[in-house]
C-alpha cells in the first residue's frame, strides 16, 4: 500500500511547498527552469495561504536575480526567514550577495534548479555548471536526486541552516528533476512543526539589525584585521556537516526517510565505485543493483553535501575494498586538470591517506568523467560503460560519456541496446503537438493513476524549441514500486502518435518494444490506413509485431462537440488499450476525473466530455496488420537536395530529432552558425492556409506586412514573366501607373504558414455580393500543398523590384525581401512583424544585438534561424549575449563598427591621390540616411575596390578589407519588456544617454513572455500575470516618456495594428537619426489570453482607448516653434474597458477578486486620461530646453 500522504507533482512544486511553509519573505525573479517555484509561492500568497506560523509570506518580484539576492540579504539581516529560487545566469548574478550572506553567517536557503551556463550557446537545460560556479562562495551546497529528495533536502536545508548559520544552496537537476512528475510522500505541517526548532529562529531574530539594539554590519576592513576576521567563521564550517547529519537523523525519526551526507549503495565489497551527485545517481543506483545481480562487484557513492566538504564523513562512507573509482561531473571547466568533483575526491583521498584516515595501501585508480551537459541523456547503458571503463586497464583518466567525441577522443563507447527496465513497470510514449493537449492529458492521466490506484507514476515531457506547431514527446512510467528512472523511455510497451503527420518527420516507433501496442490518430479508417503510412513505419510494425490501433480523434471530437481538442479522446484510447488498468476501471476513472474537473460548469460540459469518452470507445479499431511493408509512400528527405552542405549534414539531423547522434567534429568550435536556414525547414503545420482572390484585392499589401512568419508575400514583375508560370499561379495587373506593363501577385508559402489568420483579419477588401469572402480567405492546406509549393517556388524566382523605385510606405516596404522568415514564433505572434519589417528596411546593413527572451529563441534556437540573406549574400548579422546586458552589447558593436569605419576613412584618405579627392570626399561626407544614400555609397566603395585592385601594398589590402565599413551599418538592439524595463534598464539608460547611434526596438508584450508570462514593469494595471496573481496594482512604467526627457533620444511608440504607416515611419526615422533611438512596439501575445486573430483589432482598441498612445519624439524637430513630440493618435475615443474586457489577463482578476478588479479598472481609466493629457501637453507646447544635438559626436566621451 502506498503511504497515505503520497502526492504526485514535479520537483519544483515539491520544493515550493516546503520553501513557502518555512519562509517569511521571498524575493523572486523568473528564470527557467526555476520559475514555477516562484509562481507557486506568488499564487499561494495571492490565495491567502499561510506559512507554518500562520502568516502569509511577503513575496516580491525584483528587477533581476541580482536584485532578488540583494532583497533577501536585507530581509535576512533584519531577522526574516527568507528564500529565493533561481538557476543558471540568474544564480551567477546572485554570487556577489552570496559572499556577503555567507560572510555574515545568515541562515538562508536558496533553491536552485541546476542549469547550464551560456557559453558558446545558451541552454535552458540541466547540468551543474551554475552550482559549481558557486562552490567558493561560502554557501553549503546540498544536492537532491529525485522528486522525493527535493522535498526532503529542501526541508533539511531549511532546518540545518538555522542551526549551522551557514546559508544553503539546495539544488536539483533542472528539468530532469524540476519538471519530472513523480509520486512522493509529502511532508505534513505536523512533521515540519516537530522538526523546526523555535529556539533557533529566536536566535536568528536576536541577531537582527534593529534600532532597538543598534549595531553595524558590512564594515570595511584593512590589512591589519581582514584576514583574521575572515578566518573567524571557520568553526561554523567545521560544525556544519555534523549538524546536517544530525538534522538528517532527526528527519528520519519524524518521517522514516533516511539520508546520509555521503551514502554508499551497492556491493558490500565493491571493486569499482562511481562517485556522483544529482539525478544521475538514481540511474547509477538502479544500474548497480542490476549489475550486482549478474555477479558484478560495483557500487555508487552518492554525494549530498558537497559544501562544506566533510573529509571525515567521506572517508567513513568510502568502501575500503574499492580498486577503481570514477568521479562523474555534470559540468565543464575548460582548461582545468579535472572537473571540480573529481579534483575534490582526488584531494580528499590523498589528504585522508596523508592524515592517516585511510591506510597508505589504499590507492584506487581514480578517473574523472563528464556527462549529461545540458540535460544530455544519462542512461543505464552509459553507467555500465563507465564501470566497463573502470575495469579497463587502459582506462582514460579523463573521459566523457553520452556523446561521440571524434575530435579529442575523450568519449567512451556505450551499448545503446542495454536495458534494465523492469517488466512490472508499464512504459508509454506519446508523440503529439503542444497545441493538441497531449501533455496536459498525460499529466491528467498520471494524476488519475497516481491518485486513484496503488500504482506509482512518473512522467517527463520533452518539447522542441518551436513556439508554434511544437512537437511534444511524453514519457510515462507506472509501477507497483516508486519509480527511479530519470531518463527517457527507449522500450515502451505503448506508443501513441497523436498526429498523423509526425510519422513523416519522426521515427516514432524507434522506442516501441516488440509485442507492444501502437495507437495512431488517423483520418484513415482501420481498413485503409495501412497504405497511407510510410513504408518504414510499416516495416517496424511488422518486425516488432506491434498491435496497431487507429482512431479518427478529430472526427470524434467534432461529433461530440469537443471542437479541435483531442486530448480527452486520446487519453481514453490510452486507458482503453494500454492495459495499465483494467479497461472498465480505467474508463470509470476517466469519467470520474471529468466530473471532478467540470462538475460545476454545467451538465453540458461534463456530458460533452463523457460523450467524447464513449464516442472514442466506439471508434477505436485494431488494424489487421499485413505481412509485408509495401507502401509506396516512403519518408521524404528532411530537407531538399539543393540545401547547402551544412544544412544537409548537420541541420537536417537536428530537424529529424537525431541531433544526439552528431559527433563533436560536426560543430563549429565557437558557436558560429550560418544564417538563412529556416527556409529549409518546411514544417507544414497549418491546417488551413490563406488563399488569394485577385479579383477582390485592392493591392494594399497589409496582409504581407502583418504576417508574423513572412509566409505571405507580394511582388510585381514584368507581365511577360507570367508565361512560364505554373498552371495555378495567380496574377493580376498591377494597379500602379508608374509601373506599366507589370503584374501583381500575393503568394502564400504553403509549407511555412502557421495558419494564424492575421492576414485575413487585416484584409480590408470584401466581396460586395458576399462580404464573408475577402481578398484573402482560409482553405485547407493539404490539397493546396503541392500546387502552391510550385507556385511559391516560381514566385521566389521572379525578380524583386528595384528597391530604389519603392516608396517608404506600407505598400512600398512590402515589396522588399524580408530577411526574417518562417520563424518558430507562436502562430499570430505580435512581435515578429516588427522584426520582419525592420529587415525589409535595413536588413542588408543591420547588426542585431538580441536580448535573451522570445526574440532570441525564435531568432536563434537551433536547428534553424529565420534571419536570411538577400541575393547579394547580405543580411542581418545577429548575436545574443545575455539577458541583462543587451544594450551594452549593442553599444559595443557600435563602438567597434564606428572605429572600423574610422580606420577605413583614415586609410582611404591616404589614397586620395590615387582615388581622387572627389571620390574620397564623397565617401566621407556621404549622407547614408536613406536607401539611395546607402546604395550610392556601396557603388563608391565598389569603385574604390576596383581602383585599388592592382595595388598590392599592405595599406591597400587593409583598405580593401575594411572598405565595407564605409557603408552604413545600423545597430539595432532588440529585446522584450522584461529586458528593457527591468533587468536591462540600467544598461539601456546608460547606452541611450551616451548619444551613440544605436537603435533600440522594444517588443513590448507587457510580460516576460518567454518564461511564461511573469509580470514586468510594463505589465498594465489591473492585469493578472504570474508574479502578479493578485493583479498588478500600479500602472505600466512609461519607458518612452522617461527616455524622451533626456531630450536627445529619438523615441517612438508604435502599434502596427493601429497605424501601420506610423510604424514604418518611426522605424525609418529611428534608423536615420544619428543618435540613439528607442522604438517601443505594442506586441500582442498569447500571454494576454485571447484569440490571436484579434491581435491587430486589440492594438486598435489599445490606441483608441488611450491605453497605448502613438507618438514620435524626434529631437531633430525640437525648436521654439515645434515640439519634438508629435502625437500620432487622437484623444481616447472609447472607455478603457472596450479594450481590457476582451483579454483574459484583465478578466481573470474580475473573476478572482471582483472588488480589486473594479478598483484597478477605475484607477486605470483615470490614469489613461491623465496620461494622455500629459502627452498632449508635450506635443502642443514646444520644448525649447532640448539640447540641440543631432550627432553622436556631441556625446563622444571627453
Amino acid at each position: 500500500m502506498k503511504h497515505p500522504e503520497t502526492a504526485i507533482t514535479d520537483g519544483n512544486e515539491a520544493v515550493a511547498r516546503v520553501a513557502y511553509r518555512l519562509s517569511e519573505t521571498v524575493a523572486i525573479y523568473p528564470i527557467t527552469p526555476s520559475s514555477p517555484m516562484a509562481e507557486w509561492c506568488d499564487e499561494w500568497a495571492a490565495q491567502g495561504k499561510p506559512n507554518l506560523w500562520g502568516v502569509i509570506p511577503t513575496i516580491a518580484e525584483m528587477q533581476s536575480e541580482g536584485g532578488a539576492a540583494g532583497a533577501v540579504h536585507g530581509a535576512l539581516l533584519t531577522g526574516s526567514l527568507a528564500t529565493t529560487f533561481t538557476a543558471s545566469q540568474g544564480l551567477l548574478l546572485m554570487i556577489p550577495n552570496m559572499y556577503k550572506i555567507a560572510g555574515e553567517l545568515m541562515p538562508f536557503v536558496m533553491h536552485v534548479t541546476a542549469r547550464t551556463l551560456a557559453s558558446h550557446a545558451l541552454s535552458i537545460f540541466g547540468d551543474h555548471q551554475d552550482v559549481m560556479a558557486c562552490r567558493q562562495t561560502g554557501f553549503a551546497l546540498l544536492a537532491s536526486n529525485s522528486v522525493q529528495e527535493t522535498q526532503d533536502m529542501a526541508t533539511i536545508a531549511h532546518l540545518a541552516t538555522l542551526e549551522s548559520r551557514i546559508p544553503f544552496l539546495h539544488f536539483f537537476d533542472g528539468f530532469r528533476t524540476s519538471h519530472e512528475v513523480n509520486s512522493y510522500v509529502q511532508i505534513t505541517n505536523a512533521e515540519l512543526e516537530a522538526l523546526v526548532d523555535e529556539e533557533l529562529i529566536r536566535a536568528h531574530r536576536q541577531r537582527a539589525l534593529t534600532p532597538d539594539r543598534p549595531m553595524l554590519r558590512g564594515t570595511a576592513q584593512n590589512p591589519d584585521v581582514f584576514f583574521q576576521a575572515r578566518e573567524s567563521c571557520n568553526r561554523y564550517y567545521d560544525a556544519c556537516p555534523d549538524i546536517v547529519q544530525e538534522t538528517m537523523r532527526r528527519f528520519k525519526q519524524v518521517t522514516g526517510r533516511a539520508y546520509e551526507l555521503f551514502e554508499y549503495v551497492g556491493h558490500k565489497e565493491p571493486e569499482s565505485v562511481i562517485i556522483a551527485m544529482g539525478s544521475g545517481v538514481e540511474t547509477i543506483e538502479e544500474t548497480v543493483h542490476w549489475l550486482n545481480a549478474t555477479g558484478a562487484k560495483v557500487g555508487v557513492l552518492k554525494i549530498r553535501l558537497f559544501r562544506p566538504w566533510s573529509l571525515k564523513h567521506f572517508v567513513a562512507a568510502l568502501p575500503r575494498s574499492v580498486r577503481s573509482i570514477a568521479v562523474l561531473d555534470r559540468t565543464k571547466e575548460p582548461g582545468t586538470l579535472g572537473d571540480p568533483l573529481y579534483l575534490e575526491v582526488r584531494a580528499a583521498i590523498d589528504e585522508a591517506r596523508q592524515d592517516g584516515l585511510l591506510p597508505d595501501s589504499f590507492a584506487p585508480k581514480i578517473i574523472g568523467g563528464r556527462y549529461g551537459l545540458s540535460s544530455k541523456e544519462f542512461t543505464p547503458s552509459m553507467v555500465r560503460a563507465v564501470y566497463n571503463e573502470l575495469a579497463n586497464p587502459k582506462a582514460k583518466t579523463h573521459f566523457t560519456v553520452g556523446i561521440n567525441d571524434d575530435v579529442t577522443r575523450l568519449s567512451i563507447p556505450w551499448d545503446a541496446s542495454f536495458d534494465i527496465e523492469r517488466a512490472d513497470i508499464k512504459r508509454a510514449v506519446f508523440f503529439g503537438l503542444g497545441s493538441d493537449g497531449t501533455v496536459g492529458a498525460n499529466k491528467n492521466s498520471i494524476k488519475i493513476i497516481g491518485d486513484e490506484t496503488d500504482f506509482y507514476a512518473q512522467a517527463y515531457f520533452v518539447y522542441d524549441s518551436k513556439k508554434s506547431g511544437s512537437v511534444t514527446i511524453s514519457h510515462l512510467r507506472f509501477g507497483p514500486d516508486p519509480i527511479k528512472a530519470p531518463y527517457l523511455i527507449y522500450n515502451a510497451q505503448f506508443v501513441a502518435c497523436h498526429q498523423f503527420t509526425l510519422l513523416e518527420k519522426h521515427d516514432v516507433l524507434d522506442c516501441a518494444m516488440p509485442g507492444g501496442v501502437f495507437l495512431l490518430n488517423s483520418i484513415y479508417p482501420a481498413d485503409r490506413v495501412w497504405n497511407h503510412i510510410p513504408r518504414e513505419v510499416q516495416a517496424q510494425i511488422i518486425e516488432k509485431k506491434l498491435r496497431f490501433y487507429v482512431i479518427d480523434a478529430y472526427e470524434v471530437a467534432k461529433q461530440t462537440g469537443m471542437g479541435g481538442r483531442i486530448n480527452t479522446i486520446m487519453q481514453t484510447c490510452f486507458f482503453a488499450i494500454s492495459g495499465v488498468l483494467p479497461r472498465d476501471e480505467a474508463i470509470a476513472a476517466i469519467k470520474k476525473a471529468i466530473e471532478k474537473t467540470y462538475g460545476r460548469k454545467g451538465e453540458s460540459v461534463v456530458k460533452k466530455n463523457w460523450e467524447a469518452v464513449d464516442g472514442t470507445l466506439a471508434n477505436l479499431y485494431e488494424v489487421a496488420v499485413p505481412a509485408l511493408a509495401e507502401s509506396e509512400y516512403v519518408r521524404p528527405p528532411v530537407v531538399m537536395g539543393d540545401a547547402p552542405d551544412f544544412v544537409q549534414r548537420i541541420t537536417a539531423m537536428m530537424m529529424a530529432n537525431k541531433g544526439e547522434s552528431l559527433p563533436v567534429s560536426a560543430f563549429p568550435v565557437d558557436g558560429t552558425f550560418p544564417t538563412d536556414t529556416a527556409r529549409w525547414e518546411k514544417r507544414n503545420i497549418a491546417i488551413e492556409i490563406p488563399v488569394w482572390d485577385a479579383s477582390i484585392c485592392i493591392q494594399c499589401n497589409k496582409c504581407v506586412l502583418v504576417c508574423p512568419h513572412a509566409a505571405i508575400r507580394a511582388k510585381f514583375y514584368p507581365e511577360n514573366l507570367v508565361a512560364t508560370a505554373p498552371e495555378t499561379f495567380k496574377s493580376t495587373p498591377f494597379k500602379a501607373r508608374e509601373f506599366p506593363g507589370t503584374r501583381f501577385t500575393i503568394q502564400v508559402a504553403p509549407e511555412d504558414c502557421t495558419g494564424c489568420e492575421l492576414c485575413v483579419a487585416v484584409c480590408p477588401a470584401k466581396d460586395k455580393k458576399q462580404p464573408n469572402h475577402k481578398a484573402i480567405n482560409m482553405a485547407p492546406q493539404e490539397p493546396l500543398r503541392i500546387p502552391e509549393r510550385a507556385n511559391y517556388d516560381f514566385f521566389l524566382k521572379l525578380p524583386d523590384p528595384d528597391r530604389l523605385s519603392l516608396e517608404d510606405n506600407v505598400k512600398g516596404t512590402q515589396f522588399r525581401q524580408p530577411l526574417f522568415e518562417y520563424s518558430g514564433a507562436c502562430a499570430g505572434c505580435g512581435e515578429t512583424p516588427y522584426i520582419k519589417l525592420l529587415t525589409q528596411l535595413f536588413g542588408d546593413r543591420v547588426v542585431i544585438a538580441n536580448a535573451t527572451g522570445c526574440s532570441s529563441i525564435y531568432g536563434g534556437n537551433l536547428p534553424t534561424t529565420p534571419y536570411a540573406k538577400n541575393p547579394d549574400g547580405r543580411g542581418p548579422a545577429w548575436a545574443n549575449s545575455l539577458f541583462e546586458d543587451n544594450a551594452e552589447f549593442g553599444f559595443g558593436m557600435r563602438m567597434s563598427l564606428d572605429n572600423l569605419r574610422d580606420n577605413a576613412i583614415h586609410l582611404l584618405q591616404g589614397f586620395a591621390s590615387e582615388l581622387g579627392d572627389d571620390l574620397v570626399k564623397a565617401i566621407v561626407t556621404a549622407n547614408q540616411g536613406t536607401e539611395s544614400g546607402v546604395h550610392d555609397q556601396r557603388a563608391r566603395v565598389a569603385l574604390v575596390r576596383e581602383k585599388l585592385a592592382g595595388n598590392t601594398s599592405l595599406k591597400a589590402r587593409k583598405l580593401r578589407e575594411l572598405a565595407d565599413y564605409l557603408v552604413k551599418k545600423s545597430v539595432w538592439i532588440i529585446g522584450g519588456d522584461g529586458w528593457s524595463y527591468d533587468i536591462g534598464f540600467g544598461g539601456l539608460d546608460h547606452v541611450l544617454a551616451s548619444g551613440r547611434d544605436v537603435n533600440v526596438l522594444v517588443l513590448d508584450t507587457g510580460v516576460y513572455s518567454n518564461t511564461g508570462g511573469q509580470q514586468s514593469k510594463a505589465t498594465p494595471m489591473g492585469a493578472l500575470a504570474k508574479f502578479a496573481a493578485a493583479g498588478k496594482g500600479l500602472p505600466k512604467k512609461d519607458l518612452g516618456m522617461l527616455m524622451s526627457l533626456y531630450g536627445h533620444i529619438y523615441v517612438a511608440q508604435v502599434a502596427m495594428g493601429a497605424k501601420d504607416s506610423q510604424t514604418v515611419q518611426a522605424l525609418i526615422e529611428a534608423d536615420s537619426y544619428e543618435g540613439p533611438s528607442l522604438v517601443i512596439a505594442y506586441s500582442h501575445c498569447i500571454a494576454h489570453g485571447y484569440n490571436m486573430n484579434f491581435g491587430l483589432e486589440q492594438q486598435k482598441l489599445a490606441v483608441n482607448t488611450g491605453f497605448w498612445p502613438l507618438y514620435r519624439f524626434d529631437p531633430r524637430r525640437g525648436s521654439a516653434e515645434e515640439s519634438p513630440m508629435k502625437l500620432d493618435s487622437a484623444a481616447p475615443k472609447a472607455p478603457l474597458n472596450t479594450f481590457t474586457d476582451n483579454e483574459a489577463r484583465f478578466k481573470m482578476l474580475a473573476h478572482s477578486d471582483p472588488e480589486r478588479a473594479k478598483l484597478l479598472a477605475t484607477a486605470s481609466q483615470e490614469y489613461v486620461k491623465k496620461h494622455y493629457a500629459l502627452f498632449e501637453q508635450m506635443a502642443t507646447k514646444p520644448v525649447t530646453s532640448v539640447p540641440a544635438t543631432t550627432s553622436n559626436t556631441a556625446s563622444t566621451p571627453a
Partner: protein
C-alpha cells in the same frame, strides 16, 4: 389608494419591479433601487451558453498554449481556475439577498435539460426567492418543427417545477404560433407566471465595413403595444400571473399594462436612462392618475381593458388594418 398586487405568490405594495439587467452587479445601485421603492428585483440571466463559450475559449486560447514549450508550460496563474461556472452568479444571488429586503428573482437561460434543473436547484439553494426562466433561444435550424421546440420548453418547466419549491416565472418571446395555447401548456407544466416579452439581442449592420455589429438598443414606449395586445389576450384565462417587460417608460405605459392585465410591471431601460429615482416618480404619477380618475385599487383597474372586458375587443382580435364601415363592426 391600494396599489398592492400579487405576483409569484408575493404580496407586493405596487406592481413596479426592476427587470432583468446587469444593474444587479452594482450593489449600491440595487440598494438605491430598493430605496426608490422597487417592489422586487429580477437578476439578469445566468447563461449556460455563455459559460460554454467561455469554456471553449479557455480551451482554445489559453489551454492550447500550455504544455507546448519547455520554458513556459503555462501563461497564467490559476488558468484552470478561470473556468467560469455558475458560482459567481450564485454568489451574487446571496449578496443581493444580504443587500435588500425585497424579493430577489433570479433568472436562468440553459441549453441542456440537465443544466436547467441543476442550476435551478443551485439558485434556490443560494437563496433566490423566485426564478424567472429565460426560455427563448433563436431557432436557426430548418429541420426542427415548432412542436418539438414547444415540447422541450414545456419539459424544462415541468422538470424544474418538480425539483424546486420557489415560484417559477417564464419569460417568453412573442414568436409562438399559438401563444395562448402554449401559455396554457406552461401553466399545466407548473409555471406560476409569464413575463411578456423578452427583447432579444438585435445585431445591426455597419454598411461601411460590411459587418454585423452588436448593438444595445434600449426599449421605448412603442415597444409596449405588442405586449399590451398579448396581455389583453391572455388575461383572465389562466390562473398564472402576468408581468410586462419591455416598453414601460411612463406612468401611462404602466397604466395601460395593468389595464391590459399585468400583475407586475418590469422596468429596465427607463431606469438605466433616468436612474433609480425615476421609479419613485413614475409610481407617484401612476398613483396620482388613479386618484384623479377615481380608481380605488389596482385590482379595479387590472385587466379592465383585456379581451374579456374591453368594450371593443374586436380590435384586439384583428390581425390586419381593414377599411370597413364603422357600423358593420360588430
Amino acid at each position: 389608494m391600494d396599489l398592492s398586487t400579487s405576483y409569484l405568490g408575493f404580496k407586493l405594495p405596487h406592481p413596479f419591479i426592476v427587470g432583468a439587467s446587469p444593474m444587479i452587479y452594482k450593489l449600491d445601485l440595487v440598494k438605491r433601487l430598493e430605496d426608490a421603492g422597487a417592489a422586487a428585483i429580477v437578476m439578469h440571466s445566468l447563461f449556460e451558453e455563455q459559460i460554454q463559450h467561455h469554456q471553449s475559449g479557455i480551451e482554445k486560447h489559453i489551454l492550447s498554449h500550455e504544455n507546448s514549450y519547455a520554458e513556459a508550460t503555462s501563461y497564467f496563474p490559476q488558468a484552470q481556475a478561470f473556468h467560469l461556472g455558475p458560482d459567481d452568479y450564485l454568489a451574487q444571488v446571496a449578496k443581493l439577498k444580504q443587500t435588500v429586503n425585497i424579493p430577489v428573482i433570479a433568472s436562468l437561460n440553459g441549453i441542456n435539460e440537465g443544466t436547467w434543473v441543476e442550476w435551478a436547484k443551485l439558485i434556490e439553494q443560494a437563496g433566490a426567492d423566485a426564478l424567472e426562466l429565460n426560455l427563448y433561444f433563436l431557432p436557426r435550424s430548418d429541420e426542427e418543427p415548432a412542436g418539438v421546440i414547444e415540447q422541450r420548453c414545456y419539459q424544462i418547466v415541468r422538470m424544474i417545477k418538480q425539483f424546486v419549491t420557489i415560484p417559477v416565472a417564464v419569460k417568453l418571446s412573442p414568436y409562438f404560433t399559438s401563444l395562448p395555447h402554449f401559455a396554457r401548456r406552461l401553466e399545466t407544466a407548473g409555471a406560476d407566471a409569464l413575463v411578456l416579452f423578452n427583447r432579444f439581442f438585435q445585431p445591426d449592420i455597419n454598411i461601411e465595413e460590411l459587418e454585423t455589429v452588436s448593438h444595445l438598443e434600449l426599449s421605448n414606449s412603442s415597444d409596449l403595444l405588442l405586449r399590451l395586445r398579448w396581455l389583453a389576450v391572455l388575461h383572465g384565462r389562466m390562473r398564472l400571473n402576468l408581468a410586462v417587460t419591455g416598453g414601460v417608460h411612463t406612468a401611462q405605459d404602466a397604466i395601460k399594462s395593468v389595464m391590459a392585465g399585468a400583475d407586475a410591471v418590469q422596468m429596465v431601460s427607463a431606469l438605466l436612462q433616468r436612474g433609480p429615482s425615476y421609479l419613485t416618480e413614475i409610481r407617484k404619477h401612476f398613483e396620482t392618475w388613479m386618484e384623479e380618475h377615481e380608481y380605488t385599487s389596482l385590482e379595479q383597474m387590472k385587466g379592465s381593458m383585456s379581451y374579456l372586458h374591453a368594450p371593443n375587443p374586436e380590435l384586439l382580435g384583428r390581425a390586419n388594418y381593414m377599411r370597413i364601415l364603422q357600423s358593420w363592426k360588430v
